[in-house]
Symmetry: C2
Subunit: 150 residues, 2 copies
């Protein structure tokens, strides 16, 4: 059945493809897509090193791009797929966006919004762990290689 193709794993694979682009650019490999009506309306990956800007997380760029696409500040009927649990900043931005749903892959037990106690908007549903192993493996590989270079 056609609709089964466009499931959470499908869109998370697109976010993972973005994370791999970040990896190739020597950025912490986190990628994101925002989906509305089963259509990707924003894709982005972490660019904090390239842009020399701590605010250039994948999610922040995706929120800006999706708002631009929609012509509105609020991400109603939108789902963010992101390969790593959002941080305080990104969860705070997602709060303001009133996004309908967030799906993330790998948990961030150190600096994720859950550990930090950041509140999402009451309208926002969360699904976690989709393609968690793939996303975690990519992050681990990145940090392992970084460590070996230093």
């Amino acid at each position: 059945m056609l609709e089964d193709v466009y499931d959470d794993a499908y869109f998370m694979r697109k976010a993972l493809a973005e994370a791999r682009l970040a990896y190739e650019r020597n950025e912490i490999p986190v990628g994101a897509v925002i989906v509305s009506n089963q259509q990707i309306i924003a894709r982005s990956h972490n660019l904090t090193e390239l842009l020399v800007d701590v605010t250039a997380h994948a999610e922040m760029q995706a929120i800006t791009a999706a708002s631009n696409f929609l012509g509105g500040k609020y991400l109603k009927n939108c789902t963010l797929y992101v390969t790593l649990e959002p941080c305080q900043m990104c969860a705070g931005a997602l709060y303001w966006s009133q996004i309908s749903r967030i799906v993330f892959a790998a948990p961030d037990e150190l600096r994720g919004y859950l550990k930090m106690g950041v509140k999402l908007h009451p309208k926002t549903e969360v699904t976690m762990g989709v393609l968690k192993d793939e996303a975690s493996a990519l992050l681990k590989r990145f940090f392992m290689e970084k460590r070996n270079l230093n």
Copy 2:
């Protein structure tokens, strides 16, 4: 004495001038400056409506601009002056920036980072209440006028 001129109130007045620019543009009037070595290296005001982007808070733009000026991601020896207590998103961004000091004017008892429990970086000192009455009065005037229009 010359150095007394450049005190917290001096720089907060500059942030308030930015907040007034936001007000004139029909934006929630919040302004910010970032100071390094008693020099303003970034100034900004809230542009969420004009840019149709929830991430366009004064602080976020100031962080990006200051990093650009410094050529580095970390805002060491920098002070942010902002007319309203930062929200979750902005406090999260300030956490990543490792900024040395934050000075804010008016508290945001509803959605400020203190109420929301967001953590700043351990290196960051905070001073609150500088020109609080001026900043609060401007915000109150804005919301009062908005209410009367609707």
